[in-house]
Symmetry: C2
Subunit: 434 residues, 2 copies
């Protein structure tokens, strides 16, 4: 049972609620540290599983904790809660299933697993009258899943906007602040530990789309596989785009965006986007995350904080442990997620189009001609001083239009013979949204 008061109720599991930790990496160690220093009332860390556990042992973990590299030890144990911090879908998914089948509740920070198989795992948890919690899987220390489940339960959420990947935000804010190139900013992020040696998951948007899929379920009750979310790499963004964006009163962020429509459809995208410089999204610097929710009744509510790292994620995990320890056995009838009738990335927004051309007369006219054929209205043409005419960047902004029609126009324009590199189009998030 959840507590209405200001402090946690005692555990529902008799005198002690025993916790087994799977994975003793950065987050696992941070969770263990809180459980040793300031455990929630009645909660006790009893097992730590890790491969090659011998080299992981540390002296600040009490001697009462059993270390093991045999996962079966955990399932056979008396642990009430299994905390899965191994990551990936395999074998983590199988282990979560085995834990639930052994009657143990599960707390996880595994975004891939929950994004791919969350609904099925929740159903399995309900069958076993166990709990499955995953606050740490989205936006690290920002308690957004709980807010959607409890504090905003009375609203009908219409739109989710987020910056959900700290690596991309670090790279883009570095480029915005210092006119660094993408490669320089990425390298700096790698040196500082904000980006992995292989940054594909972050840079291509796969990490963010997994988190957005979880938020689609939690906020919009929409069941969507991450692979169905239209995603674009931030690699297309160059230093020159920030200069043009500034002139337009904007900066550039990797924005995760989802909205349900009235016909049961869902629009969802993860892509580099121009956002107004006065908006909450623009104020999120470095590796921070933000989630902006638009509710029918409550209007806009904004949550921001550390999106990753051992400390913030471990707070989410320990908060989930604390809640599960206090809860009665699960008796929920289950989520009513809807599979959207249609999933698209077709947000109708203004767009920013950047061309790099060998300068000569008539280029604007030819671009304008193609736009006119596709019924797209040009809003402005912007050209900053630039030293060379051989590879001249300039920007065209167009009024709100369907991305699919714009893509068709851009395909035609891309076939013209003045380009030095392929043109780039980025959506512009309206001033009405944060």
């Amino acid at each position: 049972m959840d507590s209405q008061s200001l402090t946690p109720a005692p555990p529902a599991h008799g005198s002690r609620c025993q916790v087994a930790l799977l994975g003793f990496g950065t987050v696992g160690q941070a969770v263990a540290r809180i459980l040793c220093e300031h455990p929630p009332a009645g909660v006790e860390l009893t097992h730590i599983f890790n491969r090659g556990v011998a080299r992981k042992r540390t002296d600040w973990v009490p001697a009462s904790v059993q270390w093991t590299d045999d996962i079966s030890d955990v399932f056979r144990s008396g642990a009430h809660i299994v905390v899965e911090l191994v990551g990936g879908t395999d074998p983590a998914g199988e282990w979560v299933e085995r834990a639930l089948d052994s009657g143990k509740s599960v707390v996880t920070a595994n975004k891939q697993l929950i994004a791919e198989r969350g609904a099925a795992l929740l159903a399995r948890a309900r069958e076993r009258r166990c709990h499955l919690r995953f606050e740490g899987s989205v936006a690290g220390g920002i308690p957004i899943i709980g807010a959607l489940r409890d504090g905003l339960a009375g609203d009908r959420i219409r739109r989710v906007l987020g910056i959900l990947n700290g690596t991309c935000n670090y790279i883009l804010t570095s480029m915005a602040n210092g006119d660094a190139s993408f490669d320089e900013a990425l390298q700096q992020a790698q040196v500082l530990g904000y980006a992995e040696a292989d940054p594909t998951d972050d840079v291509e948007g796969y990490d963010a789309r997994a988190k957005l899929a979880i938020l689609c379920a939690a906020a919009l009750r929409a069941d969507v596989r991450p692979q169905r979310i239209a995603t674009r790499s931030i690699r297309v963004v160059e230093a020159v785009d920030f200069a043009h964006a500034r002139r337009l009163g904007c900066t550039i962020r990797q924005v995760s965006h989802a909205e349900g429509d009235e016909h049961g459809g869902l629009q969802a995208t993860v892509r580099p986007t121009l956002v107004p410089r006065h908006s909450a999204l623009a104020h999120v610097a470095g590796s921070q995350n933000i989630v902006v929710l638009q509710g029918r009744y409550g209007g806009e509510t904004v949550f921001s904080g550390s999106g990753a790292g051992g400390g913030p994620t471990s707070v989410a995990v320990v908060s989930d442990i604390s809640a599960v320890a206090r809860l009665e056995p699960e008796r929920d009838e289950g989520p009513t997620l809807r599979v959207p009738t249609r999933i698209s990335g077709e947000f109708v927004t203004p767009h920013y189009l950047r061309f790099v051309v060998r300068d000569r007369p008539g280029i604007i006219a030819r671009i304008a001609g193609v736009m006119e054929q596709h019924d797209i209205n040009i809003d402005a043409v912007l050209q900053l001083p630039y030293p060379t005419k051989d590879a001249l960047p300039f920007v065209v902004t167009v009024e709100a239009c369907l991305p699919s029609i714009l893509a068709e126009a851009m395909r035609h324009i891309g076939e013209l013979d003045f380009h030095v590199q392929p043109p780039v189009d980025l959506p512009i998030l309206g001033g009405e949204s944060s």
Copy 2:
């Protein structure tokens, strides 16, 4: 029981959970509208109490709802949850007690009542195995109480910073944007409905300190009466202060600030404060609210949204109703609030001191002399171009010092003979904090 899944569990009160509404003003009507349009699973509005109820009846409320102006009807009814939206401590407090004594859970948005008597009412609720929830009492639609109870339960919150009064924020942002005087900004706020005819509670900080007292309990586990929180009116702020603040890279906000110390003491203040223009507090415009929490493990987490108004507050109230409807009878052992060993407003910060003087030689020297006697270091002297020497404003900033020592120095300085109006001192929130 709280649900771990993505949608609410069915009600714990058999087939229907009946709700009685006390008060049918702005928030009451907004709550009724959600309960009629999109009620949480199993929740049913059955009673509306209001004085002179005949003139309140509206046709969008179902005929099944019983209207009454006799409060006893509510206590005698089969309602499971009483929603108190009357406001004030009397008779609301008595009604909440009677509801709990009748075995009914209570949801309220009454900040004065919870700030003054929350701990006692929570104890009474526990005795009766009823719930008492109050998400709507602080920061309207921002689900901060729930976040502290659940999503951040694993952290140890060290500091609370907030903009908790939308009226003051509206006035101060108007002054910042347009160089309006305080009186002009207040009048405009009154015309637009952001300020009451009698703005005392807002402007003097009484509203914000009640909310801060609730946050002290929820975040810092400190039991403090609102009257013990050092509070300063925003009336001391003049247009000229914004001009000087801008030069210092700051703007001015009514900041609610609380921190616990390691010896069981509590520091808490509500006062106009200089905040860096790049900080989250400075970005909160108009009547928005924000809460910035600093946790030992999770770092900084920021929540912002609409601080008042029927829509946002009603979302908080309906979310509480939804949670209570799903909860088992209360079995919490109760909060462990500590009465602080010492309550003060002694935050050691740099300060902004504004003087308005009849200009003549030697003024800075005399001010500097008094500061030196009190071991306070002057950081900078700032004087903007000003048309008259008869009432010349200028600013001195001093390095971090104890407010009580500064107050003593300012008392001496105030006795000098060159002042045209009493000097004003405002704390400057450090760049390290948001």
